[in-house]
Amino acid sequence: MLKLYVDTDKYGYQSEFAPVEAYNSAVKDLLRRKFSNSDVPWEDFVFELEESLVTKADMSAIEARLLAFGHRFEPSAMSSSQERPEAYKDSGLFNEDFFFEHEDAPTADGDDIGRMLRGAGDNVVNHENNLTGIAQYIRTSDKVLKYLTEGVPENTIAIVDDSGGTLTAPILEQFSGVLCAGGTTRSHLAILTREYNIPCLMNVKLNGIKSNDRIEVEVTAPSKTADDYASGVSTLAKIWRL
């Protein structure tokens, strides 16, 4: 079979991640076969024959082969696993009892005023006083819709998975605080909470905080800057269960 141009590569070998390598190798293999069978020079193949010979059905077949090996995709968007439960892992998003159990979350027994350390994160804005409130996991659009309809209870500190600003868009300003398990203090959610002047920690590691727990967040900690990230400085704000 003919070699592709990129099959001869002095410095590059393969993708870092196995699923990427599996897909990219499969596409290259497809191209090798189609090009080999076309019996034309590459210059007549690319943007010409290739367009009709390499089809959407071919790409679906590549995916089907990966799934046939038992691989299931990690979901990001809710719609992905909802529409294709056979192709995606269970997101667990609809488990009402869910709570984060990050292994690297700092934890400790009650301090001298009875606060139990249950996590930490990167503070977006340094505030004058720590924040106390009731934790609520916000992981699905169903829950957002419920709050959009009924209103967000007072003193709610939202715990969210992703650093984006779209999931909680219509209700974000009603939270008294936000804890986000991803992102940095420059992520979209951080930008928005800063604009709204809502206390927020990003890149949060939590272990042992459930919905309806009363918590305290150390938003008096220094905010984490781009220089802190670049130089690896750890400026973690603590999260306690009360």
Binding site: L4, V6, D7, K10, G12, Y13, Q14, S15, E16, P19, V20, Y23, N24, V27, K28, W42, E43, V46, F47, E51, T55, K56, M59, S60, I62, E63, E74, S76, A77, M78, S79, S80, E83, Y88, N126, T140, S141, L145, L148, D161, D162, S163, G164, T166, L167, A169, P170, E173, G182, T184, R186, S187, H188, I191, L192, E195, Y196, N197, T225, A230
Partner: protein, 520 residues
């Protein structure tokens, strides 16, 4: 294959532009982290958009230049505002190329003339847009973007209203900026393309001004804003925000800024609001008659934006994944459609469709592959095409990598190459059909009307008489009638500077402001 008409010099420059974008892409992505959302398959749609850009940009940018040069488009964009294009046009396009190289679908020697043209278009647009500070990118200016000319800055400086934390104007302005930013992220499917900042601009020893553009808020090109944003009277809004006792240290090519000390609401000391589009003669004040009027305007806009946010979120949360993919990909891909509007050649079928050639790859783009492949391409720089020889030390990482592939110089000798991807093909979309209704400063228009109006309208400052009257000319001719005319163009809607002409300096404007404050 005949020898290319491309010269060694052109190829050297093209590869230089590719490398500049490669280095900055790494820096931008490394300092942001991947944006994930439960509503949108973000990484997957980003990759999808890159493919669409690769297959469609060359043809569509040529179509723009058939109507107006990239440089003239840049002139108009500089004066009326634009979405983030500095990074998006070259990098979306080149990352699509990089994906296809790693799939073996193309070689680095394919679409050579396309790559040279897209980079050259981008360079000429950027140099024009950045004309007042002489840079190609914000990065080249030390992560700073001083876009506006003195005459426009003077009006913004003079007319912005003073405010303090806790007063009505400050509160209303802060709430508006938070609400419209929130809405912007939603309109742009979790990207920041609705929001664009430039500056900082020096006001005094302890004051700087930041210009914040919020663009495409109303019914315009995006089908998802039909019937959602029809109550929003302005498609674009520009906030001039004067901050005190903080220094904006960085404003990058994604339009994001950082300040030292950290920018807090108490640093905001003056605020103003304007609007501009391709049919306004410069920026028009919005609610700028008095602080009370501006406060009421902000409050009114905030309510309308909140309502649109709820409607839009409800619509988007009910979308299928294919609809989410299309909207996200089209939002990214269509960043350059602004230029087609300026040139008066925007067509919905060009910019709001996924090209059939990109559509083929949709089944590959599941969430997991999207996250991992994008992560390798822009964050880790670990795809095979990105590996360089062992002596290489990449900017920022010192690793032997190169984020974006060069065009091999061997094509100038005897290595075969292909010129381009050819004409755009048919397009597909899973979104609702776009209503032929576009919000402009001159009322609603159809696509045909809008193109016609854009082609026939030239804002005064871009007319031949004034277009080349730059800051360096003003410096030596400020006492001429022509300089006064130039400044009066921007001053004609100003509350404090109407017909004042070209003689005032930044310091004069600041003294006028201080006198007003003292009097009050």
């Amino acid at each position: 294959m005949s020898k290319p008409e491309i010269t060694y010099s052109q190829l050297l420059e093209t590869n230089n532009l590719i490398q500049q974008n490669s280095d900055e892409t790494y820096w931008l992505c490394a300092t942001r982290t991947v944006q994930e959302s439960k509503i949108f398959p973000v990484s997957a749609y980003i990759l999808f958009s890159y493919l669409n850009c690769f297959y469609r940009f060359p043809e569509l940018l040529k179509k723009i230049e058939a109507n107006m040069s990239a440089e003239e488009v840049g002139d108009r964009a500089r004066n009326s505002g634009i979405k983030i294009l500095a990074w998006t046009i070259p990098c979306f396009y080149l990352l699509g190329r990089e994906m296809l190289i790693n799939w073996g679908v193309i070689k680095p020697t394919d679409a050579v003339e396309d790559v040279v043209y897209v980079m050259d278009f981008w360079k000429r647009f950027q140099l024009s847009w950045h004309r007042n500070n002489g840079g190609l990118t914000n990065k080249q200016g030390g992560h700073r973007a001083q876009i506006f000319p003195e005459q426009k800055l003077q009006v913004f400086h003079a007319d912005a209203f003073e405010c303090e934390v806790g007063d009505d104007l400050h509160t209303a302005a802060q709430e508006f900026m938070a609400t419209v930013a929130q809405y912007g992220f939603l309109v742009s499917c979790e990207s920041r393309l609705t929001i664009h900042n430039h500056g900082p601009y020096k006001i005094s020893d302890n004051r700087e001004m930041l210009i914040r553009d919020f663009r495409e808020l109303s019914e315009y090109d995006f089908p998802w804003l039909d019937d959602v944003a029809n109550d929003l009277d302005y498609n674009n809004l520009t906030v001039a925000m004067v901050v005190e006792d903080t220094h904006i240290t960085l404003l990058d090519d994604w339009g994001s800024f950082e300040a030292e000390p950290e920018l807090k609401s108490e640093h905001i000391k003056a605020i103003g609001l304007w609007t501009a589009d391709n049919l306004t003669d410069g920026h028009l004040p919005v609610g700028m008659g008095s602080p009370e009027e501006l406060t009421a305007t902000f409050k009114n806009l905030t309510e309308k934006v909140k309502e649109a946010t709820s409607k839009l979120w409800t619509q988007m949360a009910g979308w299928s994944r294919d609809q989410q993919m299309d909207a996200g990909a089209l939002n990214y891909f269509a960043c350059a459609k602004e230029l087609a509007h300026i040139a008066g050649c925007y067509e919905m079928k060009d910019w709001m469709m996924i090209d059939e050639r990109a559509e083929r790859f949709r089944p590959l783009l599941n969430d997991e592959y999207g996250n991992l492949f994008l992560g390798e391409l822009v964050g880790m720089i670990t795809q095979p095409s990105q590996m360089a020889h062992g002596y290489t030390m990449a900017q920022h990482t010192d690793k032997p990598t190169k984020g974006l592939s060069f065009i091999p110089y061997s094509i100038l000798k005897d290595e075969p190459y292909t010129p381009g991807v050819g004409p755009i093909r048919g397009g597909v979309t899973n979104l609702s059909a776009k209503v032929d209704r576009y919000r402009t400063s001159q009322g609603f228009m159809t696509q045909e009307q809008l193109n016609k109006e854009c082609r026939s309208f030239t804002m005064t400052c871009c007319q031949e008489k004034y277009r080349l009257l730059c800051a360096d000319w003003v410096k030596y001719h400020y006492d001429t009638e022509l300089a006064d005319e130039l400044f009066r163009i921007e001053q004609k809607n100003s509350r404090n500077l109407k017909d004042r002409g070209a003689g005032l300096t930044c310091q004069d404007i600041e003294h006028m402001r201080l006198a007003r404050v003292e009097k009050a």
